[in-house]
């Protein structure tokens, strides 16, 4: 039972980090992406390779993951950010599709469909440490960084771009640079989450980095509320614990849990969009359409 709860808590911290960093792009900068799982994947593979080939040092794994995911996101974002709003969503969808194929084909780096197995447990100074405290520390560090940015001039820059891009430019802001930085920061966070995910499961393959995963992360964000610091984390906890909670309800036959879960997800999303369109913790004024 303890192991079971600690597994859920670890995943909640990891997905909380994913949803919170996606929120930085979506809620803070207004850049919609459905490719967050790609950067999670890049981080997972890099972190896993560090642990497999060098040392199972979690800090080194996370650092490598952040650099690879953040760096590659810059290469991808710079051309893609030239297009506006809804087209970026399409570009990120294309990236998501392409990345799954690449992850499957680049067998030397990713292990292909079979994935990377036998990733050693993380060790700090030779002592095995569970991933839960590491994930919590990573989550807190990223939340603090995001809170600081949100209050400072970079947060204002991103808010200005989100609300009126041309007006932000007219004030001298290099919008392309600001957007690219927001994307790189967000992708680096997703990379760290990916590395911790790989270390936690000691196995990764491409199935964890598909469009479904990106959509799940987006759903966590929407349920919790975009543009808030803690909303995405609440969303992650809720969406991750729902399947677990259902499995405790004894009168549902195990074979039907999947479809019951779908019905609850669908119904909850519909109710949410009607009654709290900006998410559970979101700014409700922002959710409603403004005439």
């Amino acid at each position: 039972m303890i192991a079971y709860l600690s597994n859920i808590a670890t995943l909640a911290a990891i997905f909380g980090l994913l949803a919170a960093t996606l929120n930085f792009m979506v809620g803070q900068a207004g850049i919609f992406s459905v490719a967050h799982a790609v950067f999670m994947g890049l981080g997972a593979y890099s972190g896993a390779q560090v642990a497999l080939l060098l040392v199972p040092d979690p800090f080194l794994a996370c650092l490598a993951a952040a650099v690879v995911a953040g760096g590659l996101s810059l290469c991808l974002a710079l051309p893609a950010l030239r297009v506006r709003g809804e087209y970026f969503v399409a570009a990120s969808l294309g990236l998501q599709m392409m990345a799954v194929t690449l992850f499957t084909e680049a067998k030397g780096l990713t292990g292909g469909m079979g994935g990377l197995v036998g990733i050693p447990q993380p060790r700090i100074f030779g002592v095995v440490v569970p991933v839960l405290p590491l994930a919590l520390v990573a989550l807190v560090v990223f939340l603090l960084l995001m809170a600081a940015m949100q209050r400072g001039s970079f947060g204002r820059t991103l808010g200005a771009i989100r609300d009126a891009e041309s007006a932000a430019e007219a004030l001298g802001k290099n919008v392309a640079v600001a957007k690219a930085l927001a994307v790189a920061f967000s992708a680096a966070g997703a990379g760290v989450a990916g590395a911790l995910f790989a270390l936690h499961l000691s196995f990764v393959n491409v199935e964890s980095f598909t469009l479904e995963q990106s959509v799940l992360i987006m759903a966590m964000l929407i349920v919790g509320g975009t543009g808030t610091l803690l909303g995405p984390i609440l969303g992650a906890v809720l969406l991750l614990s729902l399947p677990a909670a259902l499995s405790f309800i004894t009168f549902i036959p195990p074979t039907d849990i999947g479809s019951v879960q779908q019905i609850i997800y669908g119904g909850a999303m519909a109710l949410l969009m009607i009654f709290r369109p900006a998410g559970l913790l979101g700014d409700q004024k922002r959710g409603r359409s403004e005439a």
Partner: protein, 247 residues
């Protein structure tokens, strides 16, 4: 009297429509140049060509003698040209203070250069701009919650805070009541006294006559006349075009 910004032969067409055909303009420092003309004359398009929001098919523009054609909008802004938008484009979900602060923070990087001293100076600049625009009382309200006149003055406060020496204002006084309009005129007069070169797109002739040192009359993408306000306003041909009963 030095010329702050000039443009020569600006042209731009959309599809088959020539919206701007060879417009030349000079904005002297410390003067208000009113850009008037009927709807669709191409006034906003001229602004967009100068600021790099639209690419010109032909023509040149220079700021204090340095060419600015082909620069990106943010580069033109950093060179010292501030503009307002006909539809305001406020940062709706940010507070009034953050809207104005953003105008003092040109860098798009993670932080602004200059450290704490410069941060304090920027905050002071923003507070002064809000004070001057008469919106200090609503500094903590979000832009989306402001009343109409407050939104217009917030747009002006952003320009004040940007400390540019050329202002391109696109119908900043439209829809203001008489007392707000007077307040607006005082704001512009103060900036003019400090040497700002102001180009003002304005339909209200009372405002134009109260402020303009010079008028450029634009019709169908061409400057039909440019000069002293009295002379332009007395021309019956221009009046006929302006008031819509052209032959």
């Amino acid at each position: 009297m030095s010329i702050a910004l000039t443009c020569q032969g600006l042209a731009r067409s959309f599809g088959g429509v020539q919206a701007v055909k060879g417009v030349s303009l000079s904005l002297p420092a410390g003067q208000v140049t009113a850009l008037v003309g009927p709807n669709g004359a191409g006034k906003t398009t001229v602004f967009n060509l100068i600021t790099g929001n639209l690419r010109a098919d032909a023509g040149q523009a220079s700021l204090h003698g340095k060419p600015i054609m082909g620069l990106k909008p943010w580069q033109v802004a950093r060179a010292g040209v501030a503009r307002s938008f006909q539809d305001l484009r406020l940062f709706q979900h940010m507070t009034v203070r953050d809207n104005v602060l953003a105008a003092t923070e040109p860098s798009g990087w993670f932080w602004q250069p200059g450290g704490a001293a410069s941060r304090a100076a920027r905050l002071a600049r923003a507070e002064a701009a809000m004070e001057a625009a008469g919106i200090a009382g609503v500094a903590d309200a979000r832009a989306v919650d402001l009343a109409y006149a407050e939104r217009k003055f917030l747009s002006m406060a952003r320009i004040l805070a940007a400390e540019a020496n050329v202002w391109l204002l696109d119908e900043p006084a439209s829809g203001l009541d008489l007392s707000s309009r007077t307040r607006f005129q005082d704001l512009l007069k103060a900036a003019r006294a400090q040497g700002v070169a102001i180009c003002l797109i304005e339909h209200n002739l009372d405002v134009v006559m109260a402020l303009a040192d010079r008028i450029a009359f634009l019709d169908r993408g061409e400057v039909l006349a440019e000069g002293e306000p009295q002379a332009i306003m007395r021309d019956p041909k221009l009046a006929a075009i302006y008031f819509g009963d052209r032959k």
